[in-house]
């Protein structure tokens, strides 16, 4: 598990880097002291790796694996998982079933690799039998998942990790900081000179290569939903990668990407996701929320 720490050219802040949740993670700390920056970076990374280990769908030694292999048996989950499942449940209710942590099995039939083809109707119908949070018995802290179903907290895990790390950092240091876990960000306060941080937004057509613009943020969580490179072209028809768990098909006319600023990264992320799920109505939805947002259509 590698950590690197570099000082900015002007010497005013440190940039720590590590890798977690299949993303590059950055911690920007406005501090002079290297030892202190190193300590804070280490703790942030430890907390992030802890969350990754605990909630990753790709591990076989955690509770998520147990749940996904529980074969219809009820399982008691710990308090932190309870809170996350309650949150997922609320998001399911708020989105009228469009945000659904059981929708991950759709990935088995939908591939967005070049040359892939869309699934046929029977495949989709078969798959939908194993989707639907309403089929799950959730009586906190007891979860009973019908056989063949899976849950995936990937849609909230990274934002949750950003907010938990931000929570810990704000309790530990007075320094201004930015957390950037693969495009999910949190800024605690302006720099000591009173200036906001400048955050570059990726051009979704050239992630990491070209910037679509720059925003200034003094405080809050920032999250982006969407990835313009992930779509499927088949017989002249373009299929976006945001899937509707109720139909089993991609949401039509969804923007290429949506970026939202809100109080926390979790909130920003969920608003961006909800907006994508609105398809063509994304902009109208975000305007009604009265949050700063950027849409790339």
């Amino acid at each position: 598990m590698n950590l690197t720490l570099d000082q900015s050219p002007c010497g005013s802040y440190w940039t720590g880097r590590f890798s977690a949740m299949a993303s590059p993670c950055e911690v920007l700390l406005e501090l002079k002291d290297r030892a202190q920056a190193q300590h804070l970076l280490q703790q942030v990374a430890e907390e992030t790796w802890r969350i990754e280990k605990k909630f990753s769908r790709y591990r076989q030694d955690n509770l998520i694996h147990h749940i996904n292999h529980s074969d219809g048996q009820p399982l008691e989950v710990d308090e932190e998982t309870t809170l996350l499942l309650n949150y997922a449940d609320q998001c399911f209710q708020l989105s009228d079933g469009l945000f659904d942590i059981t929708a991950g099995v759709l990935r088995r039939i939908w591939s967005f690799q070049p040359g892939a083809t869309p699934p046929d109707k029977n495949q989709v119908r078969e798959c939908l039998k194993h989707i639907g949070w309403s089929k799950v018995t959730w009586e906190p802290p007891h979860l009973t998942l019908p056989p063949g179903m899976e849950i995936d907290l990937g849609g909230i895990g990274k934002e949750y990790a950003v907010d938990k790390a931000a929570q810990w950092l704000s309790q530990t240091t007075e320094a201004s900081f930015v957390l950037n876990f693969g495009g999910d960000l949190y800024v605690n306060k302006p720099l000591s000179n009173g200036q906001p941080w400048h955050i570059a937004i990726d051009d979704p057509a050239a992630t990491g290569v070209r910037q679509a613009g720059q925003i200034t943020v003094a405080h809050g969580g920032i999250a982006t939903s969407g990835d313009a490179r992930r779509f499927l072209l088949h017989q002249g028809k373009r299929y976006g990668h945001i899937l509707n768990p109720r139909t089993g098909y991609p949401i039509k006319n969804a923007p290429r990407s949506v970026t939202v600023i809100a109080g926390t990264c979790l909130e920003a992320g969920m608003l961006a996701t909800f907006a994508m799920l609105q398809g063509a109505d994304a902009r109208q939805f975000l305007e009604a929320q009265e949050v700063p947002f950027w849409i790339i259509e």
């Binding site: 300590h39 008691e76 609320q90 909130e267 929320q289």
Partner: protein
């Protein structure tokens, strides 16, 4: 999505987010590494005892959530301690318990016995989660010094209620000590130079049983309070084998010379102390911890009483003042007051009937102690460093009303001034 009510989505989401983030932050230390704490304690009483004690502990949280802690401490003690005899107007010569050596205290001074000892103590704690809301903590301790061995075990169960806002705790502890005084355990209240008439024993045991009940309540986001009650029953050899009492003349207050024709010069009459062989004590402890915007106030009060007649009150106040960059300053004030044990007396009067129990151990006398201190802590790469400096002053009845004759000229409860310096370092391996 509830399209007719879109703007409420954000408010509902913000509330849901707030709840999901309410899960308490995990301890900052990594579960993969060992959390190691090292410390050095320096405790020095003016003109009396100095203790230097390095200590180390290492704890690890296992995958299953169990926490294991190993502790070790090494004490080295040098200096002198009041032997219980009172000052008098001539020099006083004492024979060491083994009879091998003597020491002489000048006229007018409080007699002190030289001490050197080392103590090694090791301990092991195991905290285990029995179920989601129930934890068990077991602890074992062993310590050894030249004339004293101590072994103790304890078990504490805690259960959370009320959305983890309330924790109930119940615990039990057992201690077995073996005292092996130099030259054997003396017979209580016997004259120290007289041939022993009772049986001298090499191994003298004492046992103690503790029970504890506690409740911890989170009052709001920034306030926590705790109330503990504990009861201790001790039995066995509770006497201090090296403490003595002067036998004084009922009129002059002078220490009575040893009448034996073979007695060397400046030898006087003293008796060994004697304490009851049981002690029952009750203690009530209340703590309040409140976080201001950043700073934290800690307040605690303890009431203690036992069937030896000691009642005590301890008030403790700390304020953690946060500085920039994770550094902090923590001023500390503590006040302790106790009444004397029923059998505490500064001396015994010659030719009077002997009491059933008697001790001139200053720790059993009426006293007040005040401690002021300041702690500074700072984060380091992978750890924390702290330094604590404290001054303690303990005062008692220097001129008690029952002092006789020349005793009134002397300080029968000399003030104790102590300096405490503690350096701590914590890191994760």
């Amino acid at each position: 999505m509830q399209l007719n009510n879109k703007s409420s989505v954000r408010a509902a989401l913000a509330a849901a987010t707030c709840t999901v983030l309410s899960h308490p932050l995990q301890a900052a230390q990594s579960s993969d590494g060992w959390d190691v704490k090292g410390g050095l304690l320096y405790y020095s009483e003016a003109d009396r005892v100095t203790v230097i004690a390095p200590a180390i502990s290492a704890s690890k949280t296992t995958e299953a959530g169990d926490k294991l802690t190993f502790r070790a401490i090494y004490d080295s003690l040098t200096g002198a301690s009041p032997n219980g005899a009172t000052p008098t107007n001539t020099p006083q010569t004492f024979t060491s318990p083994s009879g091998q050596s003597t020491y002489t205290t000048p006229a007018g001074e409080t007699p002190m016995r030289d001490l050197t000892d080392v103590r090694i103590a090791v301990g092991l704690d195991w905290e285990h989660e029995l179920s989601r809301l129930v934890r068990n903590a077991m602890s074992g301790n062993f310590s050894a010094e030249r004339d004293y061995l101590s072994l103790s075990v304890s078990d504490t169960l805690s259960k959370d209620y009320n959305n983890r806002m309330t924790t109930l705790t119940a615990g039990v502890g057992l201690t077995l000590d073996v005292v092996k005084p130099e030259g054997g355990a003396p017979v209580g209240l016997q004259l120290i130079n007289a041939p022993a008439t009772g049986e001298l024993e090499d191994d003298n045991q004492k046992t103690a049983v503790d029970v504890l009940f506690g409740v911890t309540q989170i009052l709001n986001r920034s306030t926590l309070t705790q109330l503990n009650y504990s009861h201790t029953t001790s039995s066995g050899y509770l006497t201090e084998p090296y403490k003595i009492l002067s036998v004084i003349d009922p009129l002059t207050g002078e220490t009575v010379p040893d009448p034996s024709p073979t007695a060397p010069a400046n030898t006087y009459l003293y008796r060994y102390e004697k304490r009851p062989d049981t002690r029952n004590s009750d203690s009530l402890y209340w703590k309040l911890q409140h976080q201001l915007t950043e700073d934290v106030i800690y307040f605690s009060y303890r009431y203690f009483q036992d069937d030896w007649g000691i009642r005590s009150h301890t008030m403790d106040l700390k304020y953690r003042y946060e500085l920039a960059g994770g550094r902090y300053l923590q001023p500390h004030y503590r006040q302790y007051q106790q009444t004397a044990a029923d059998f505490y007396r500064h001396s015994l009067v010659d030719n009077m009937p002997l009491p059933e129990f008697a001790s001139a151990d200053l720790r059993l006398g009426e006293m007040t102690s005040n401690t002021v201190g300041l702690k500074f802590g700072m984060p380091l790469q992978d750890g924390e460093f702290s330094i604590l400096v404290e001054k303690m002053t303990q005062t008692g009845e220097s001129h008690p009303a029952d002092a006789i004759g020349i005793q009134r000229n002397y300080d029968l409860y000399p003030t104790l001034d102590a300096t405490i310096v503690q350096i701590g370092y914590r890191t994760v391996f």
